[in-house]
């Protein structure tokens, strides 16, 4: 009986701690730069792209069908917006133990196969995902950069409103946000939500 009581108490407690996880950035917050291992074997930080006006930071990965559905759109976004000052920076936050397809060697392989034009970084400690508040893949953070090199969160959410069919997209949420920010305006829509693959956190 006592055992049952403690097991119930314990699961209730783990439940509560899981709920109390910090929520990361909100729109308008100042974002932190990071130093993460890129697929080229070098450590990458946002400040290395010094000429950028902002960054499209996308938490994504290899295995997730939603990430895969958006893969070509992410490549296209980078091609379109890097020349305009908003390059894509992709981060894989998943624990490769939980999801071997998202291991560092597999990241290198996939980026090569699909012709990624942007950095694809490994968040091996998962600290960047936690700091930003990423919960799923894909999960986008649009950052702008001030003259004083301060990063500001402008938009959080989905790339557009139809993962399944690029031809059926009605609202290109992210592109609209970039257009607004590049004109110095606040995006009309700053937060969207969408079903995605929960980030595979390391087991404590």
């Amino acid at each position: 009986m006592k055992k049952i009581f403690f097991s119930i108490l314990f699961s209730t407690l783990t439940f509560l701690t899981a709920q109390a996880q910090q929520d990361g950035y909100a729109v308008g917050d100042t974002a932190k730069d990071f130093s993460l291992l890129n697929i080229n074997g070098k450590v990458f930080s946002l400040n290395q792209l010094a000429q950028a006006k902002g960054y499209i930071v996308i938490f994504t990965c290899n295995h997730c069908p939603f990430s895969q559905a958006y893969e070509q759109r992410i490549i296209d976004l980078d091609k379109k917006y890097t020349p305009l000052g908003y390059p894509v920076v992709a981060i894989n936050p998943n624990d490769p133990v939980a999801e071997p397809e998202d291991s560092y060697p597999n990241m290198i392989k996939r980026a090569k196969e699909k012709g990624y034009t942007f950095p694809y970084l490994l968040d091996s400690t998962q600290q960047t995902a936690k700091t930003y508040g990423a919960k799923r893949t894909p999960h986008v953070y649009l950052l702008s950069k001030t003259a004083a090199n301060i990063l500001k969160v402008e938009y959080i959410g989905a790339i557009d409103d139809n993962f399944d069919d690029p031809a059926a997209v009605k609202e290109k949420h992210l592109e609209k946000a970039i257009e607004a920010v590049s004109k110095g305006a606040k995006p009309a829509v700053t937060v969207t939500k969408a079903i995605g693959c929960g980030i595979k956190w390391k087991k404590p």
Binding site: S11, F15, F163, T192, K193, I195, G196, I199
Partner: protein, 165 residues
Amino acid sequence: MRRVFIVLLFVFGFGAVQAQSSGITEITFDQLLQYKTHTTDTIYVINFWATWCKPCVEELPAFEKLNQMYGGRSRVKVLLVNLDSKKNMDTRILPFIRSKELKSKVLFTDVVELNQRLEEIDPAWSGAIPATFFSGKTAAAKFFYEGQMTFEELDVKVRQLIKIK
């Protein structure tokens, strides 16, 4: 004679349940939302999952166990809302339901439509799955959880919600 009838009823009744459970019912977002806004004494345990989602598939047996434990005429009803792409209905979703012999009620809803109105399920939902929404009659008897759950966690929650009027 009466006994035979009852046995037959049982066999056929069971058969019907079996047939139903190996299928899937497609519902609109509004129909899905009715499980949140309902005013009955039922406690719906609504799990959002997909065949490709590893932690979702891992936790399905816990929901099946819950369904088996409470099932039948109990106040607790388990609903497994599938969020695969509809184009995979015949190639992935239905074969998966059959091979796992899922006994809980499986629903299907369109993710693109769901994405527009995710907030209406629960504002705390980031969109990550697995996610589970517990829906009793009153606001106090509703609870949302994003992440994987064990059978013990589900059972504790359900027992707690049953007590809330």
